[in-house]
Symmetry: C2
Subunit: 118 residues, 2 copies
DNA sequence: CATACTGTGTAGTATATACTACACACTCCA
DNA sequence: TGGAGTGTGTAGTATATACTACACAGTATG
């Protein structure tokens, strides 16, 4: 039931398969400046997700998107915060729509947005 | 600099103009089951935003979207969390795009999504 | 002018957050 | 077979969170 923990454990193990010497729990913890035992507990959901600074450090080490990691930890990134602040109603509407939107439609939407069609 | 506080104070005062007797700080605090002084401090940003339960109570009283209020408080709602969990990459992409997307494009996007064109 | 509201300041507290420190058990391989 | 590496368990702590309780000052109304 620990989204954040599961996510980073999966990600780390994935990287570890490719480069075992770099992505052990101890090495990753060291890179992120936290105790290995602490990271272990976070990955297994025995500890709530860490603070913003630590999450961003982990995002860097694990080559992950910090907005996603923060969100999985139940925290809102500064970028997302600015978007919501600027257009709260858009944000509320988007959540309502995305909840039930089929994947295919979402993918097409994102592709078009990215390609500047909007 | 207190997004959450500013937002709910504006909202409350707006409602207060229409119905002064119902939307005083004291009445709203009472409805949300918190101390008036606490709400006062939150509205002025002297106190960090309250917990999830209190935010949802305030959303109800102030007739606001709870996803927005939670996000302004730096917290991720369950609905948003589910979306991110299901499609982390979509979410990351969406944030990147929305940051610089002009309002007109966003509005058109949302309208179309809402109308089922997606 | 009293009393009934408005919002605010000060002081305090239980619980959760965000970690550290270090010992322990296991596996691998030289 | 022993040392280097893997992850984990227990114990503890400073700081922040998420509030309560209540006294106080101002305004408005009867």
């Amino acid at each position: 039931m620990s989204q954040f923990g599961d996510y980073i454990r999966n990600r780390r193990e994935e990287l570890q398969k490719a480069k075992p010497s770099i992505f052990s729990l101890r090495k990753v913890a060291q890179e992120a400046n936290i105790e290995p035992s602490y990271l272990s507990k976070i990955e297994r959901g025995l500890q709530p997700p860490p603070g913003q600074a630590t999450i961003e450090a982990l995002a860097l080490v694990l080559e992950e998107d910090k907005d996603v990691l923060l969100a999985l930890a139940g925290k809102v990134s500064d970028d997302l915060s600015k978007i919501i602040q600027k257009r709260p109603k858009l944000f509320a509407g988007l959540i309502r729509e995305l909840k039930d939107m089929p994947d295919k439609a979402v993918l097409r939407l994102v592709r078009e947005v990215r390609d500047g069609e909007w």
